[in-house]
């Protein structure tokens, strides 16, 4: 009796509480309105605020594999080199380096004033330790293969040898790091700014969970982490031990983890973010044309070295016929897609390697025009008819285009399928698949047409072209060409950039002639930056560098 009564009273009390709460809270909000603008600092030292979409999967450089982690690594760590705005490698923790004449040995000089965020000096030993740690099989680094250019690295990583003694990474003294390569790799220097090449403090071996908290992360970059609220935000403050701290102007960098693009934009528009959009955030695609009018001075479109394409299963009818593949590639209007569907300033692509990748001397794509094919509906119809005739088919069979679940991919697929329907009179089904399911299907060659995309790992056409060697891990198209394989091999073995680019140009031509993939566009990143913020830029891959940014009131 008594308990029942009190239970009921309790419920009633809860009710009343809820009503009171519901009735009262809106009043408080008016009082708080003014306090929300956190960025009250004046021009001298401003905090830079941007969105990184989600929790970084790790802050251990050896395990990093996504651009969220990469964006944070840019602030917290620093490799031997950095990329400048034009994509050139410039001195960073290494003040200088020497390449041997055969291109197989690099000797880096670590600057004397390089320090960890706890004040310890950064030495060549730290680099040797860190790189070998990344290669150690039990570290479980998925990007360890980025070290395979180094002598002995692959064997060690694949556990073919028991220890790292044979790996060509050696600290000759505190300041000197010697690296021996398997073959002359012209883009090796470019790799040394990649996040897996970042050093870690040797104390990490004593604490397995060191990368989980702000307190235990020791970096050598321009900033250090002051606060990490998991799933919510990360705050960086300048690293007082950084050798170049005079060039670090921001009082701090605040990262929010907002996954919803509309929320991100709303935060930018209400003054809670200084930067919105790619690489780690996103501006809702449909808002871009509107913002290009209303926020002309803040919005920036920057092409990045990534390709968007569809791949065909060339083992399966009808895509085992090159004319059918070509017909499909020629029958769509790429300009209409980038203008009306994707709307982020993408560039229609008629080749595979995107602009922004260095060729012999300048941009590969300006040296080698991507005019491997043209859009031509009449020609496409003719090719399709011929192709089907060769396959002894009377009509186009039922095929399905698969893509991983995403609104953007879906929209593009819908537009392209509709173009095929209108221009070629063929019906292609659309099916979105969960990413893992799609990847499994793709590896198992269980698809007909599939969406794919590729971004550069390093600044060389090879990062694209070596994908399609026969039985390559990424080559799920059935494409196999001995000539192609030979050209790639030749380019890999050569230290002469002219010879390499020639071989790679030929390889790309073979790829486009065979057309296991149908290029659609080269990606571009769209972002908005509040007026006054200077020297924040995206590199050729679209990765953001905010470390030397500053604010100047206008």
């Amino acid at each position: 009796m008594r308990t029942r009564k009190s239970a009921f009273t309790f419920m009633t009390a809860l009710l009343i509480l809820a009503i009171v709460a519901a009735g009262c809270t809106p009043k408080n909000e008016i009082g708080n309105k003014g306090s929300s603008n956190a960025n009250g600092e004046t021009s001298q030292a401003k905090v830079f605020r941007m969105n990184i979409h989600s929790e970084p999967s790790t802050l251990d450089p050896a395990l990093m594999e996504d651009n969220v982690s990469g964006t944070l690594a840019t602030g917290i760590y620093e490799g031997l080199t950095r990329k400048d705005e034009n994509g050139q490698s410039v001195a960073a923790t290494a003040e200088s380096w020497v390449k041997s004449d055969d291109g197989l040995t690099y000797t880096f000089k670590i600057r004397k004033d390089a320090k960890w965020s706890n004040g310890d000096p950064v030495t060549a030993n730290d680099f040797e330790y860190s790189w070998k740690r990344a290669l150690a099989p039990d570290t479980g680094s998925t990007y360890a293969y980025q070290f395979y250019y180094i002598v002995g690295a692959q064997d060690y990583n694949e556990s073919k040898v028991a220890n790292a003694d044979g790996v060509g990474i050696k600290a000759l003294d505190e300041q000197t790091l010697e690296v021996k390569l398997v073959s002359p790799t012209p883009y090796f220097l470019s790799l040394t700014s990649f996040y897996v090449y970042n050093p870690v403090h040797q104390s990490v071996k004593d604490n397995a969970a060191w990368a989980a908290d702000a307190k235990t992360i020791i970096g050598n970059g321009p900033f250090k982490m002051s606060e990490w609220q998991h799933n919510t935000s990360i705050k960086l403050v300048p690293n007082e031990y950084y050798y170049d701290k005079d060039q670090v102007k921001f009082a701090g960098v605040n990262f929010t983890m907002l996954e919803e693009s509309a929320t991100e934009l709303a935060n930018y528009e209400t003054g809670k973010l200084d930067y919105t959009g790619k690489p780690t955030g996103e501006i809702p695609a449909e808002q871009i044309p509107v913002l290009k009018e209303s926020k002309k001075d803040e919005i920036v479109t920057k092409g990045i070295a990534s390709s968007y394409y569809y791949q065909f299963n060339t083992n399966e009818v009808p895509f085992n016929n090159v004319k059918v593949r070509k017909a499909l590639a020629m029958a769509i209007d790429r300009q209409a897609i980038v203008e009306s569907v994707t709307m982020a300033g993408e560039v229609p692509s008629f080749g595979f390697v995107p602009p922004g990748i260095i060729g012999e001397k300048e941009d590969y794509r300006t040296e080698v025009k991507d005019d491997f094919f043209t859009e031509n509906v009449d020609e496409a119809k003719k090719l399709l008819a011929e192709g089907l005739a060769e396959l002894k088919l009377t009509k186009f069979p039922k095929v399905t285009l698969t893509f991983n679940t995403s609104d953007g991919h879906k929209k593009i697929a819908e537009a392209i399928v509709e173009m095929w329907r209108q221009n070629l009179g063929i019906e292609v089904g659309i099916e979105n698949q969960e990413f893992s399911v799609l990847l499994k299907n793709r590896t198992a060659m269980n698809y007909q047409i599939s969406r794919a995309g590729w971004g550069a790992d390093y600044n060389d056409p090879m990062t694209y072209l070596d994908m399609f060697v026969t039985n390559g891990g990424q080559n799920n198209t059935g494409f196999a060409s001995a000539e192609y394989d030979a050209l790639i091999k030749k380019a890999n073995a050569s230290g002469d950039q002219k010879e390499r680019v020639e071989a790679m140009t030929k390889a790309e031509k073979i790829l486009m002639d065979y057309m296991p993939i149908m290029p659609i566009y080269y990606y571009s990143n769209v972002y908005m930056l509040k007026p006054g913020f200077k020297n924040i830029f995206l590199d050729y891959k679209g990765d953001i560098d905010y470390t030397r940014g500053y604010y100047e009131a206008e």
Partner: protein
């Protein structure tokens, strides 16, 4: 007595046939006819029924009457507001929203209807059994429900994607595998409360069999919460279908459902509100009419509510 004069012959006895100047008893009518009379005199309920029929009709003919088909892209005419050519405007690929909305309505209403039927069949029976038998039967079935309810439905959906191809059947299957559990719990609760009432005990004492007690006495008395739960099932099934589409199991483009249309429209609703408003309005109005008609139907069928 009033100042009224009667004649003696008025005080002669009447034959049995002339006793009344009017029929004495109301025409006796069947229960169904009675219910229909009560329902049809409920004007709002009838209006709802008419709207529901209209929506169903539009779901069938709607995609064909605007002169625009649902899948043709007009990239030059995307995101147009409603006009003479495009009655509901166009979407982000310039497709006619009028045709798409009604096509989507057809698909979504089917999904909602089938999911509701599945919930009703499974949920009411299993919930009834749990509530009525109690004890070990209840414990085991209840735990089974809890386990099934706790298994991430996404795993089940992905499994379905792998072993089946997208179709209405797969959609309804995916929605129903766990959908009925809430219904079963609601029914169980009601039956547990109702089975202690005298009329049930009386029926038990009289030796009525279990099925009869369950379906004649208990479930009709739990109809209120059952109907309310059903009215929640329908819209949630419609939106769950959109989630299935997202995972690759639902309706695949270029076909559309109201759920996927709203999902697409939400990204730009501040710019192109009509893309969201029309499909959302169809769902809301349908649900409103469904609820009002459901209430009317229950009032008409349930004699308890007559007073």
């Amino acid at each position: 007595m009033k100042d009224q004069s009667f004649t003696p012959d008025q005080f002669t006895k009447l034959g049995n046939d002339k006793k009344s100047s009017e029929p004495v008893v109301r025409e006796s009518i069947s229960a169904w006819k009675d219910a229909w009379q009560r329902l049809s005199s409920n004007k709002i309920a009838m209006l709802s029924l008419i709207i529901l029929l209209l929506v169903s009709l539009m779901a069938i003919i709607g995609p064909h009457i605007s002169g625009q088909d649902f899948q043709t892209n007009h990239l030059k005419e995307k995101n147009l507001s409603p006009s003479g050519t495009y009655w509901f405007g166009t979407d982000d690929l310039g497709r006619d929203l009028f045709s798409r909305t009604w096509m989507g309505a057809g698909i979504s209403l089917q999904v909602g209807l089938y999911a509701a039927l599945a919930d009703l069949a499974l949920g009411v029976i299993i919930g009834g059994i749990m509530g009525y038998f109690g004890g070990r039967v209840d414990e085991i079935l209840n735990r089974f429900c809890e386990i099934l309810y706790s298994i991430p439905s996404m795993l089940i959906i992905i499994l379905l994607i792998v072993i089946m191809s997208p179709s209405m059947f797969t959609i309804v299957l995916a929605l129903s595998i766990t959908g009925w559990i809430s219904m079963a719990w609601i029914v169980r609760g009601q039956i547990i409360q109702l089975k202690n009432q005298e009329y049930v005990m009386a029926a038990q004492a009289l030796g009525a069999n279990t099925a009869r007690i369950l379906f004649r006495h208990l479930i009709p008395n739990a109809m209120g919460p059952i109907i309310v739960t059903l009215t929640l099932t329908v819209p949630s099934a419609i939106f769950a279908e959109a989630f299935l589409s997202f995972l690759g199991l639902g309706v695949q483009s270029p076909a559309a459902s109201l759920g996927t249309m709203i999902n697409d429209a939400i990204k730009a609703w501040t710019l192109y509100p009509w893309r969201m408003i029309f499909p959302a309005a169809v769902i809301s109005i349908t649900m409103l009419c469904f609820n009002i008609f459901g209430d009317g139907l229950r009032d008409a069928l349930d004699p308890k509510m007559k007073k």
